[in-house]
Symmetry: D2
Subunit: 357 residues, 4 copies
C-alpha cells in the first residue's frame, strides 16, 4: 500500500511524535499499524531487542510498505508519546527512564492497571515501582474518559477485562449488579498468547480447540473487580481463531429487568459512545455480538437477552483483543489525553464476509 | 477401505439386521458408518426419499466402499432393529407403522425424549402419538442403563443435553445440585444444524464465528430438567468446528466441595463407565476435556475445577455431537437393548494431532 | 465506528456521487465499505431487490454504523458513477438504462470483460449487448492504466484472472512467456462462490476442504488469454478460507532466466505500482506471497523462484479476491477514470497476526 | 474407550509383539493408535527420551485409555517388529543395534528410502550406514507389494512422495509419463512439520495460510524420481489443516489420452487395491479426491481429468499424511511382511461431515 497524505484535521492540524517499545510483539505491531495511519502521530522509533536493525516488515508482513527499522531499546530518544507494549514486568522496571524521555506514557501491560500495591500483590508478584500505581489512569475510555485528558501515565485495560467490563457496564450503572451473582464465560483467540507461544500453541495442538485454559482465577478478575466493585466467576476458553474475544456474562440480579429496561440502560450508557454498538436480536444472520464482525477495528459489539424463567440476564460482548482489547484502546486513550478527536486513526470498518481473523 | 471379516464374538456370535430411516442426514450417515463396522449388525436398508436409488457413497463420501443404495422410505422391510434419524416430528407420525416392521425402534429425534405430553407441549408443538411417550426409554446409558435391556422403543438423548447431563451427573448423584444455581454455557459445531442449513450456515457466514445462537430457552433444557430434576440457565454458542459439543457448567452449591470430594464423586459415577474419561488438571497440553480429542468416537471427556473464592464448581464436558450426542449413543443403547457387549462397534480411538473435525 | 471527517484532498477536493447496484452481495457490500471511507465519493444509493428498505447493516454487519437503506433497483437515480455488482448477465441487460443515468459505469461482472462477441460465446452463453464489448475498458490497472482515464464503461477484472495475470505480467513483459508452457494452480476462498451458495458451500461440507472445483476449463482462462496472448493450463482448488486467492504459476520458458533476471523484470513491471509488493524469499516467516497478509486490502503480493533443474520459473500471487480481485480493483479503476489520486480510499494496511479472513 | 477383545483371525490367530521408537511424535502416536487396535500386534514398548515414565496419554490425549508408559530408548527389549518413528538421521545411527533386537525393522524416516549412497548425498547430508540402503525395501505397497513379504528392513515412503506417486502411477504404468512434462502442486497440513515446530508453525502465524513453503527442490522429489524414473517439477504449499496431503499433478504426455483411456489405466492399476479409491467426476459435492474424506484412515482417493485444449492430464491424490503417508503405510507394509491380511488393523472409515482434521 502506498501511504497517501494523511488528514491532520482530526488532530487539529498538530502531529505528535510517537515511539513504540516492544514493537515486534503482536500489540506492538498493531500500534505501528494504527499509528502509521493516524493523522495526529508520526512514528519516531519502534524498538525490539531481538530484531534491532531489521525492517519492521520482516516481522509484521502487513507493514512491508513502511520505511522503518527496529531500534534497540537502549537507543530510545525523547518523544511526545511513548507506547509500551512490552511483556508484563518491563514497564515497572523502566518507568522512571521513560518518563525522562516523554510527557506521556501509554502502557499496554498489566503493570499499572491496579490502583494499589496490595491489589497487585494479590494477583501478581511484587511490584518494583508501586508509587506509580496511584498515578496511572486506567484506560477503558467508556469508563474513565473524564480522567484521561492530560493524563501522563495511562494503563490500557486488558482484553478479557475490557470485554467483560463493557458487557456489564450498563447493568452496573443501572444498579442491577448490586448483590448479583455473575458468571463470565469468555472465548478467546490465539493472539492472546502472544508471539512466543509454547507447545500448546503450535498449530497442530491449538487448531480446532474449545479448550478451558483459565477455568478459575484469571488475573483479569482483578481489573473487573476494581472497575465494577464486584467479584465475578470467570472462566476462559481458547477457541480456534487468532483475533477476538467474546465475553458472555450470566447475571442474576435481585430483580429481573425487562428487555425494555435493558434497552434503556444500554442506550443510557452507550448511546453516545463512538466505538460501542448495541446488537440485541433483530433479523438476519448477525443478531448478537460476534468478534469476527469487529476484527481489525476498535469497535465493541454489546448485546443482551433476558431469561425470565431463570431470573437471568445474559450479555454478550465482542471485541478484537489486539485492537479494542489492546493497541486500539491505547490509541483511543492517547487521543483523549492529547485532546485529539476521539476516533482519530481508529475509523476503519470491519469486513464482511470474513472468516476467522 | 476393504471390509475385513468382523468379529461377531462381541455380540455373542449373533448378527441382527438393522435399517436406518433418514440415512442421508448427518446422524443417519453416522449410523451407517458405525453399523457397517459393528460385529453384531448387518445393514439391511438405508432410506432417503430425496436420494432413493443413489449410492450411499454419493452423499456420504466416507462410505464409498459400501455396496449400498438408498431405498425409498415407502419400501421399508421388516428388520430386527430400526434406527430412525429423521427430522423431529417424523417418528411420531410413523411410529405405529415402524412397530409393525420391527421389535426395536431406536429414535434419534426429540419425539419421544420427554415423558409426558404436558412436558412436550411446553417446549414443542403438539404431539401426534402421545401414548408412546411413556413407553419410550430415554437413552443416555450412563443415566438409564438399567432400563435399556429389552427396551422396544428407545429415545436417544440430544447432543447438548447429553453433554450437559454428563457434566452434572456426578454432582447430582452426590447431592450437590440441590438448590444450586446452575449456568450452562455450550459451544457447538455446525453439524448440529443438520445437512440442510440456511444462509447463516453457509461457509462465508458461519466460518470463524463465536455466535450466540440460543441465548436463552434452548429446548434441550427440558431433557436436562427431566433427567436431573433441576432447571438450568442454558446458553449456546456456535463456534468454528463441524463436530463437537462442549458444555461448561458453572454450579453454585449450597456448600463448596473440595477437589477431593469431586474426585470421589466422579469416580463413583464414572469409575466403571466404558465411554467416560475424567480429565481434570494434570500436566501437558490437554488438561481439561476438549471435543477434538473425542471426535469420531463415542467417548465423553468430563472434568472439573473448584473456585473457592466464588463458591463455584466448574465442570467441562466434551463429546462428538454426531456420535456420543447422537448415532453412537443410539448404537450404545441398542447394544444394551439386545444384550450385546456394551462397547461393540464403538471402540475407535480419537486422533492426535487433529484439527477441527 | 463513528465516521470522521474525510480528507477530500486525495480527490482534489471534489466529491462525486456513487451508487451500487447489487449491494447485498459480497462485492456490493465491499464497494459500500470502500466508498464509505473514500474521500472522493459520497454513496447515493445501494440497491437490492430482496432487501429493499432494510438497513445495509442488516445484511453487512460491519456497516451497521452507516445510515443507509437498500433501495429497489427500479428506483435508481442519476449519479456520477454507477458501480454494478450484480450477477453475470444482469449488466448486459441494463447497460443502456444505466448509461442514461450516469457518465461512468464500473461493472464488476464478467459481462464486458472480453473484447469480442466471438470470444464471449466461446466461454459463456450469448451476449445481449455485444456492441458494448468493444467500448468497455478492461480494468486491471497494472495492465491497462493508460486506457482508464476518462473511461465511461469499465469492466473490472475477475479475481482468479487478476491473480494469475499479476503473477505472469513481469515475465510477459520480459518476453519470457513466448512459447512457454504455463500451468496455473489456484487456491481460493469461499467468498468466490457468492452469498447464495448451494449445499456444497454449507459450513459442514465446505470446512477443511482442499477441493478441486475447476479442474480444467475455468472461464477466467479467457481473460488471461486476452490479456497475455497465451493459453494457460488452469486448475482451481477451494481451500478453507473465506477471502483470498493465491495463484501459483509454473512456467517453462524457452530459456531459464536467473533470479537476477527475474528481480529486474519484476522491478521493471512493478517498481512504481502502488498496490503491488514483490516478495521473493528473504528471512522470517512470510517469505512468499500469502493471501492472509493482504486480506481486506487492495494490495497484491507477487513473488517468484527459479527451479533450474527443471527449467522452471514459479511465481506466486496473493490477493484478497473481494478487494483487489473485485471491489477494490473497481474503485482503483474509478479513481483513474475520474482523475483522483490512484490510492484514494484504498490505503488500509492488512493485519498481523491474522487467521483466515 | 474400553478395549474390546480383538479378532485375531485377520492375522491367522497369531499375535506379534511390536515396539515403537520415537513414540511421542505425531507418527509415533499414530503407530500406537493403529497397533492398539490391530488384531495381530501387541504393543510391547513405546520409547521417548523426553517423556520416559510418563503415560502415553499425557502426550497423546486420544490414547488415555491405554495402560502404557513411555520407556527410555536405552531400555529397548527384543521384540518381533520394531517400528521407528524417530527424526531423520536417528535410524541410520541405531540400525545395527535395532537389528540385534528384532527380525523386522519398519523405519518411517527418510534414512533408508533411497537405494544408493550417491542418491542420498544428492538430497541429504552424508549417510552413516550406507550398506543398508540397498537392503531396505521401499514401502509404498501399491508399488512394491511383491518385495515386502518377509522383508526385514522396510523404509516406509514419505507423505508427499506417496501422494504424488499414487497420483502418477496409473499413467506411469500405461506409459503416459515417458518424456512428459510433470508439474506437482502439493497442499499439506501442519502435522507434516512434526511436534516441535518453530515460530512459523505457531497458531497465530500458521492459521489461515496458503503459504509456499517448498517452492522448488523438495527432498521428496528424490523418492518420486526413484519410483517412477522421471523428474517432476514439485512445489508445496502449507494450507490450514492439521492432517492431509493433496497432490495435484499436471501432466503433458506426448499424446493426450481420452477419459476412457484413463479410466482403463486407473482400473488396471488400482482395481484390486484395498486402500485406493478412484474418484473422478460424478455427482454430488465430493467429485474429486479430498483429504478430509480420508482423514484418520489408510485410504487414498485418486482422481483425474483431461484438458484436451492444453494437451494436459490433471490427477488429484488425497491422503492423510499421518496415516497413508506415514504410520498406516508402515503398518500396511508390516502386514505384508508378516503375511497378515493386508487390511488388518487398517479398516476404519473416514468421517462425514467433517471439518479440517
Amino acid at each position: 500500500m502506498a501511504a497517501t497524505e494523511r488528514d491532520a484535521s482530526a488532530s487539529g492540524g498538530e502531529t505528535a511524535t510517537a515511539s513504540v517499545v516492544g514493537a515486534s510483539g503482536f500489540a506492538g505491531g498493531e500500534l505501528l499499524r494504527l499509528l502509521a495511519g493516524h493523522p495526529g502521530f508520526e512514528v519516531a522509533q519502534a524498538t525490539s531487542r531481538e530484531h534491532a536493525n531489521r525492517t519492521v516488515g520482516s516481522v509484521h508482513p502487513n507493514l512491508r510498505s513502511l520505511d522503518l527499522r527496529f531500534a534497540d531499546p537502549g537507543d530510545l530518544d525523547a518523544v511526545d508519546v511513548l507506547f509500551a507494549a512490552a511483556p508484563h514486568g518491563v514497564a515497572m522496571e523502566y518507568i522512571e527512564e521513560w518518563r525522562d524521555l516523554t510527557d506521556t506514557v501509554v502502557d499496554l501491560s498489566a503493570d499499572f492497571r491496579l490502583d494499589s500495591e496490595s491489589q497487585y500483590d494479590e494477583w501478581y508478584d511484587g511490584h518494583s515501582a508501586p508509587d506509580h500505581l496511584d498515578d496511572a489512569v486506567y484506560a477503558l475510555p467508556e469508563l474513565s474518559r473524564g480522567d484521561l485528558a492530560g493524563a501522563d501515565l495511562i494503563a490500557s485495560g486488558g482484553c478479557n477485562a475490557t470485554a467483560t467490563i463493557l458487557g456489564l457496564l450498563p447493568l452496573h450503572e443501572a444498579g442491577l449488579l448490586e448483590g448479583a451473582q455473575v458468571v463470565v464465560d469468555v472465548k478467546v483467540g490465539s493472539s492472546e498468547g502472544g508471539a512466543g507461544g509454547g507447545p500448546a500453541s503450535s498449530h497442530p495442538e491449538r487448531s480446532g480447540v474449545v479448550r478451558p485454559y483459565a477455568p478459575t482465577g484469571h488475573r483479569h478478575e482483578a481489573e473487573i473487580e476494581q472497575a465494577l466493585g464486584l467479584s465475578v466467576s470467570f472462566t476462559a476458553h481458547a477457541v480456534d481463531m487468532v483475533r477476538g474475544a467474546s465475553a458472555t456474562c450470566h447475571i442474576f440480579p435481585a430483580e429481573t429487568p425487562s428487555k425494555g429496561d435493558l434497552w434503556a440502560a444500554f442506550r443510557e450508557t452507550y448511546g453516545d459512545e463512538p466505538f460501542v454498538e448495541t446488537v440485541a436480536g433483530g433479523s438476519g444472520t448477525y443478531r448478537y455480538p460476534e468478534p469476527k464482525v469487529v476484527a481489525g477495528t476498535n469497535d465493541a459489539e454489546i448485546g443482551f437477552e433476558v431469561d425470565p424463567e431463570n431470573g437471568r440476564v445474559v450479555t454478550f460482548a465482542a471485541i478484537d483483543n489486539v485492537v479494542k482489547g489492546s493497541a486500539g484502546q491505547a490509541v483511543h486513550a492517547a487521543n483523549l489525553a492529547l485532546g485529539y478527536e476521539e476516533t482519530a486513526g481508529l475509523d476503519q470498518f470491519g469486513l464482511h464476509p470474513v472468516g476467522s481473523p
